[in-house]
């Protein structure tokens, strides 16, 4: 186990360096951001040179990367060109709203995915299954932002039941969470269904039924337990997609999270903020993947043994 953890941690460090390189190189590929930032009016060469030097953009690339990396390790992503505030502080101010949305979405997703997936598997090939599979298929086929817009149209504009957008406490969280959750539920319900089907025909379930256990008991305590692990892993794997969905949905619902922060920063060409948010979310994602992998290895010995070649 210890060997597996060390190996996995080492692997994580490599991925982190890789991602920081991708972000750094991508941003530098566009040339000097200063010229783009000072687009309004025609900046003098002197003004450009001054700002370039002030931002440290005249140093050799390798030095710039070193400074960037040293900062990133300590979660110091520099200061915003636009507000002068430290980027990390700006992220933290908005992280709460984004986390609320993420948690809301995951809860809705799980609450919907399990009953639908389980019912689909138990009554395979029936109308219930058809309904469940259609639900799951629609979940993965709906553009999340359009679904969100439709919800606003139906529940806010036509029925006046919920606020259109913004953050006014819990009621504001309902529509964005449900939108996010429905998409996630589509992906998860398919997985719950197929992992339940895998075990429903297994011999130990036949034994359990032969022992006279109630079918409900067999399904829940025996089969469901097996469907749980892959589903949790899937949430970890889908976390990237979830973050992407959140960034877009925050625009739709005017939700004051980091998605709005990054889109506004793009508009203002506030590169430290864009770079900081992208890196921060990538770090978060890698952390989630790491935790998922480790907990999986902890529960399932085959993983950690298979992990050591």
């Amino acid at each position: 186990m210890a060997r597996y953890i060390i190996k996995r941690l080492l692997h994580t460090v490599i991925v982190l360096i890789g991602i920081s390189l991708i972000v750094f190189i991508t941003i530098r590929l566009t040339g000097n951001p200063v010229a783009a930032m000072l687009q309004n009016g025609t900046p003098s060469k002197q003004a450009i040179a001054q700002l370039t030097a002030a931002l440290g953009l005249n140093k050799p690339l390798i030095v710039q990367y070193w400074i960037f990396l040293r900062g990133a390790v300590t979660l110091n992503f520099g200061t915003s060109y636009a507000t002068g505030q430290p980027v990390m502080q700006m992220i933290m101010q908005r992280m709460g709203a984004t986390a609320e949305l993420a948690v809301g979405g995951i809860i809705v997703g799980l609450v919907l995915a399990f009953p639908v997936g389980i019912a689909s598997a138990i009554w395979r090939g029936t109308v219930v299954d058809l309904f469940g599979r259609t639900f799951a298929l629609l979940g993965i086929s709906f553009p999340n932002y359009w679904l969100g817009t439709m919800f606003i149209l139906i529940f806010s504009v036509w029925l006046h039941l919920l606020p259109v957008a913004g953050d006014n406490g819990f009621v504001s969280l309902v529509l964005p969470s449900v939108t996010l959750g429905l998409i996630l539920a589509g992906i998860l319900a398919r997985l719950v269904r197929s992992s339940m089907l895998d075990v429903l025909s297994a011999q130990y379930l036949t034994t359990a039924r032969a022992k006279g256990l109630h079918w409900w008991r067999v399904t829940i305590s025996h089969a469901l337990r097996n469907a749980l692990l892959p589903t949790i892993t899937m949430i970890g794997l889908q976390f990237g997609g979830l973050l992407g969905g959140i960034v877009i949905l925050e625009q739709v619902f005017a939700w004051p999270g980091i998605g709005q922060l990054v889109i506004k920063a793009i508009d203002q060409r506030d590169y430290p903020v864009v770079q900081g948010v992208v890196l921060f979310l990538a770090f978060l994602l890698i952390l989630v993947n790491l935790v998922t992998d480790l907990s999986y290895a902890f529960v399932d010995p085959r993983v950690r043994i298979g992990g050591e070649k």
Partner: protein
Amino acid sequence: MNAQLSPVHATDGLQPVVHRRRRSGIAYFFTRLLTNTGGLIGAILILLAAVCAVFAPWIAPHDPTAGTILNRLDPPVWMKGGDPQFLLGTDPVGRDVLSRIIWGARDSLYIGISSIVLSVVIGVPVGLLAGYFGRWVDDLLMRITDIMLTFPFILLAILVMALFGTGVNKVVIVLGISGWASFARVVRSQVLSLREQEYVMAATIIGAPTWRIIFRHLFPGTISPITVIATMNIAVNILLASGLSFLGLGVDPSIPDWGGMLASGQIYLTTAWWVDVFPGVALMLTVLGFNLFGDWLRDYLEPQDK
């Protein structure tokens, strides 16, 4: 997979010979497709989008980019005040929504398909090399693949589009480059199992050159999983591309594009819902088509995974 040895019986060799015809003809493909509701609906939806995309100039009743402010926000034809000239109404600039939807199919399909082609062109060779050579080549390539798989696509796309500006081909490149890793993964694992097959070993033993083993003996075995993933990922990329356009980071706003139409319609939601509803339906149906067809294709090509 761990292969288990089963006991050998004396009668094993005496089983009646069953003629197992290779069922792979075009006729068989269509028979199977026509008898499967999901697959058939999927194929029809894709075909519909494809016809719109190819024949847009002849099908579309109006110029998708021209409109007069006089026809601004006309409701669909069945509503009060609807103009029979504009079946699905007009947008805030007076352009025909239906025509824009028909033209919009071009962008979505072009981006979806060509970005996947790019992913395949990068990912498949990576997977073949990693799987065939193993050792450090495999380690190196798979670490890079892992980084790509861990990196949040949409964030990379947002970053790149923000830095390099909008444009159809930029979207294709961004999505293509961020999507190759899943192909590399699948091709590699397929090659790992194919490499142990007798026919590949035989080819190695008789001294076939490396490139011949890779392309003649290993590559064909990877085609079906590639096809399935490609179909599914076209759906994913169409969604991602429209999401980028929605954020104003996708294609040029003047081009008729479903994501762009949805973004511009959002502010008129309370007064002119049709500007936002119909392009979304078109987008959803196209994505649904690829998902349905992809599901069917997986069952058809890889029945053991069913």
